[in-house]
């Protein structure tokens, strides 16, 4: 047995379980307990594309430094699933702990000498304490929370408060749950030395923060943006976004007396239809959106072309999952960067926003509606499963009551009264954005919208120069958009770093942690995280001002690098890709080792 280095507020607990056993609430209880003690946490849920009986894991990183990514290691493993037992034991870092249910003999528990195995007869204790079979299964999860509380020194008052909140509407369930927690807690206290060297102590680093998943935050963002029409087809991992919007609408947009709804949600028959509903509603003047994932974007291609060419505002949330094809629906990836940027036949490109955490999901949801309406075009919020479905610790969401939606260039009836003639696709002020009117407006505003070739007056055309004129004007609009999308986040290392890391979205946490480690090793690297496509001038400056750029992204084919090479003057040879695409959320180790290797190679040259 190897000695465990004592670590306060800095270790990883992972629970291996079977899905459908109700472990989710126990795991979030555990994570919330650390959070309530003021200690920053990172939670990752690894769940199967299945309803019941398949392996599932929940990983909680307790991080006093406030890192936002996984550490990549596991210090305490709760191996509750016989099926994955062998694999779970292997994953424990040397000096770590394995907690298992000793109701049944587990020979493999002793297969490693560099970790400590702690057996707790969880099933036996639950069988003695509870009569109902389903209750026994559920309570076993609560019992391991109790054991971990004792072993890592969680404040039991915090747990009790959380349990009372959890069952606020069903207070009768509190005693049984507390009983199970105490059984686990007391067993650990009586049989092991508590706390372990891996333990916690209250801090004050979570005040002013919430724990929320990106899909909930984005759903809330749609409410705050004033979106009224939502259309969707259920698809993992985007479903919880429309679910969140629906439940916020039920609470905030429903007349208490009449039950009348100030919103309309259409659960469509497929993604073609949900894109169509969004187009129709956007054309008519509502803020409309859809929630989907890669397979849905693939289906929406033709309609996205109509949105681009006929210039109709649409907002799309793509919660990326592992592709291609069905891929791994419950694993994360950034594999849709290019399809979102260029979806549809012909020359098309779309505004994309890349949130890095749930707070940005909230903010960018609002931003996306403003951009879609300002530029009369599809705008994507390109999130992913890691951001969308995991609970992240983020600073409180903020709202400025002076915000008013940017509806873009929509002519009112009063405006139309004043003008001689309205032309739908005429760029009258040089920013590439024409004026539009809404169906039902003043007779002078009537026009015929079409995906077929049209000239700048709005008429149908098959004349080459008239067609090209409109296509070129769309590029002017695109250039204007590049000045209005959110600017990238920059973290300069020190004056004159020759190397830079460029990334986007959920790679942020791993990259920032890598920067700390590299800095400790004396390697200076500048950092930029993109927030939007089209790329802004800042991005070009960053690419130009560094000799070498490490582009970090979560896909096999270096899609972001491809877009940078396509859209900016950057030389391909300057780019080194660091690619992570196995479906797990990224951690810092791969980035650190790739850059260290590059340093070593350069030194040897």
């Amino acid at each position: 047995m190897s000695a465990t280095q004592s670590r306060l507020n800095d270790f990883v607990v992972k629970v291996a379980n079977v899905n459908g056993t109700g472990s989710a609430s126990a795991n979030s209880l555990l994570m919330k307990a650390y959070f309530r003690m003021g200690i920053p946490v990172v939670g990752k849920n690894y769940f199967p594309s299945n309803i019941q009986g398949m392996p599932t894991w929940y990983e909680i990183r307790i991080t006093r430094d406030g890192y936002a990514a996984r550490s990549g290691e596991v210090d305490i493993m709760l191996a509750m699933n016989a099926e994955t037992y062998a694999q779970d034991i292997k994953e424990v870092a040397p000096g770590g702990y394995l907690i298992y249910d000793s109701t049944w003999p587990r020979q493999q528990a002793l297969s490693r000498t560099d970790i400590t195995a702690l057996g707790i007869p969880l099933a036996e204790m639950m069988n003695d304490a509870f009569a109902n079979a389903r209750v026994r299964i559920l309570m076993k999860n609560m019992a391991y929370v109790g054991a971990v509380a004792a072993l890592t020194n969680i404040d039991m008052d915090v747990i009790r408060t959380l349990i009372e909140e959890m069952f606020a509407t069903k207070p009768k369930l509190v005693p049984a749950n507390m009983q199970a927690i105490e059984l686990g807690f007391n067993y650990a206290r009586e049989n092991f030395t508590c706390p372990l060297p891996l333990s916690v102590e209250a801090m004050d680093k979570t005040a002013g923060h919430i724990m929320i998943d990106g899909n909930t935050a984005a759903g809330l963002g749609c409410i705050y943006a004033g979106a009224t029409v939502g259309a969707w087809y259920p698809i993992t991992p985007s479903t919880s976004l429309m679910d969140a919007y629906t439940s916020f609408c039920a609470k905030l947009r429903t007349d208490k007396e009449t039950g009348e709804k100030r919103y309309c949600i259409v659960q469509a028959e497929d993604e073609l239809s949900s894109a169509g509903v969004v187009l129709g509603a956007g054309w008519t003047g509502a803020r409309a959106f859809t929630t989907t994932s890669g397979p849905g974007i693939a289906l929406m291609g033709e309609l996205l072309g109509l949105g681009y060419y006929a210039e109709i505002p649409m907002v799309l949330f793509d919660i990326q999952r592992v592709g291609p094809s069905t891929g791994m629906p419950t694993r994360t990836q950034q594999g849709d960067l290019q399809i979102c940027a260029y979806a549809s036949h012909g020359d098309t490109k779309h505004i994309c926003l890349y949130p890095a955490d749930p707070r940005e999901c909230f903010e960018m949801a609002v931003n996306a509606f403003d951009l879609a309406e300002r530029f009369q075009t599809p705008a994507f919020v390109v999130s992913d499963l890691d951001i969308g479905m995991n609970d992240w610790m983020i600073p409180d969401l903020e709202w400025d009551d002076s915000y008013r939606p940017d509806r873009g260039k929509v002519l009112s009836d009063e405006d139309l009264e004043k003008i001689t003639k309205f032309h739908r696709y005429l760029d009258v002020d040089g920013d590439g954005i024409p004026y539009r009117t809404l169906p039902g407006s003043h007779p002078k505003g009537v026009y015929f919208n079409r995906g077929a070739g049209h000239n700048k007056w709005g008429g149908r055309t098959e004349l080459g120069d008239e067609y090209q004129d409109v296509m070129d004007r769309l590029l002017v609009k695109w250039a204007t958009a590049a000045t209005k999308v959110p600017k990238p986040v920059e973290v300069p290392s020190r004056q004159g770093a020759a190397w830079g890391i460029l990334t986007l979205g959920s790679c942020d946490g791993a990259c920032r942690e890598a920067l700390h480690h590299l800095n400790d090793k004396g390697i200076a690297v500048d950092y930029m995280r993109l927030k939007a496509f089209p790329f802004t001038a800042k991005v070009e400056e960053f690419l130009a001002s560094h000799e070498r750029i490490f582009v970090v992204e979560q896909n096999r084919d270096a899609q972001l690098s491809g877009m940078l090479i396509n859209e900016t003057p950057v030389e391909k040879a300057k780019i080194t890709s660091i690619l992570h695409y196995n479906g797990t959320p990224m951690d810092h180790r791969q980035i650190v080792s790739a850059i260290e290797a590059a340093v070593a190679k350069e030194a040897a040259a």
């Binding site: 705050y224 009348e260 709804k261």
Partner: protein
């Protein structure tokens, strides 16, 4: 070409509707379809029906997919917003438009390829949702723009001009509409404007999905001797179950007792159904289905108002959406504000 304007000739005694508008206010651009195309007659019926219904042109919205039929939205209601979209997706785009603004009059124009092949799913689901729109299928059994291939509505064994035989049974939009629960179902013939105009007007009044399948011969690719969708075939095989009379004044003493039935529409107005077949009951879905099937077995194409249910709920009624169009809702009534955000966040601490 569609950008050529029709001359708008004002003459004394030109008929005007209740809004003081002439029929010219409801016309569109010049048709670019083949001379004699059935679709042009439907376009003329559309113009007439909107004119007679006294709908302000800017309160109407026309949306279509792709195909000869879908082109026609440019040829009527030139003073209304129009949207010629992509193939087979008119139903979803119209659903979205109606979700956003329920106060306008929506007409969707589609064809047999657009609705029964590429867009069959969207057609079916717009019916299921009972979207409040007039849905017209200009049905000719062929793909015209791609030079005459069979569509899904072509009869089994029908022959193309070149002599190819259709090996597949047809999809009948009327039977689909009956099976899927459409609340207004009618069939007409482009060659009979007097029959079609009242159906369009009734469809516009209907609160829900009003389906009109219009047999509309393709003079270029499907009007030959062996066609089952030619003018000649239509004239000899149509069987009218019921005609519609939109105005009490038009009821003459000629109709035998019991053959004219008043129907109260959602807006309170009354239309009159003139049964030409005593066996026929347009309020009984199962009987309507049976009636259509029996006549089809005899090679007859049943026309008329085939089914009507004015009591059913449309999409918004089912959803309980506010009466005012969502597009007109002020932002202040949609955004809950900063203090609510603080309260909401308590559960995430």
């Amino acid at each position: 070409m569609s950008y050529i304007r029709k001359p708008n000739i004002d003459y004394k005694g030109r008929p005007e509707n209740a809004l003081g508008l002439s029929e010219a206010s409801y016309e569109g651009a010049m048709s670019t379809l083949c001379a004699g195309c059935g679709h042009d007659s439907i376009t003329a019926a559309m113009t007439r029906a909107f004119f007679e219904s006294s709908i302000p042109p800017n309160a109407a919205v026309k949306i279509s997919g792709i195909g000869c039929s879908s082109k026609t939205t440019a040829y009527f209601l030139g003073q209304s917003h129009g949207n010629n979209t992509v193939h087979g997706r008119m139903p979803s785009i119209t659903t979205g438009a109606i979700a956003a603004n329920r106060k306008l009059h929506y007409v969707g124009i589609s064809g047999d390829g657009d609705s029964l092949s590429i867009g069959l799913g969207q057609f079916a689901h717009a019916i299921r949702r009972n979207v409040d729109m007039l849905y017209v299928i200009e049905n000719n059994g062929v793909y015209g723009l791609t030079k005459g291939q069979f569509s899904a509505s072509a009869a089994f064994g029908a022959k193309t001009k070149k002599g190819d035989v259709n090996p597949n049974p047809p999809i009948d939009p009327i039977k689909m509409g009956l099976a899927l629960g459409a609340s207004f179902i009618a069939r007409s013939f482009s060659g009979d404007k007097n029959h079609l105009v009242p159906l369009i007007k009734a469809g516009l009044k209907h609160k829900g999905f009003a389906l009109i399948d219009v047999l509309s011969p393709c003079v270029t690719f499907n009007d030959h001797e062996d066609s089952t969708m030619s003018y000649k075939y239509a004239y000899s095989h149509l069987h009218t179950a019921a005609d519609l009379i939109m105005d009490r004044d038009e009821i003459t003493a000629d109709y035998p007792e019991g053959t004219v039935t008043p129907i109260t529409m959602h807006d309170g107005s009354v239309i009159y159904l003139k049964k030409t077949d005593p066996d026929y009951d347009p309020t009984d879905r199962a009987r309507a289905f049976d009636y259509v099937m029996r006549h089809q077995e005899k090679g007859e194409i049943v026309t008329g108002l085939l089914y009507l249910d004015e009591s059913c709920k449309d999409m918004h009624a089912t959803h309980n959406t506010v009466e005012a169009p969502l597009t007109t809702y002020p932002f202040e009534n949609l955004c809950p504000g900063a203090s609510t955000l603080d309260t909401l966040q308590k559960r995430y601490r």
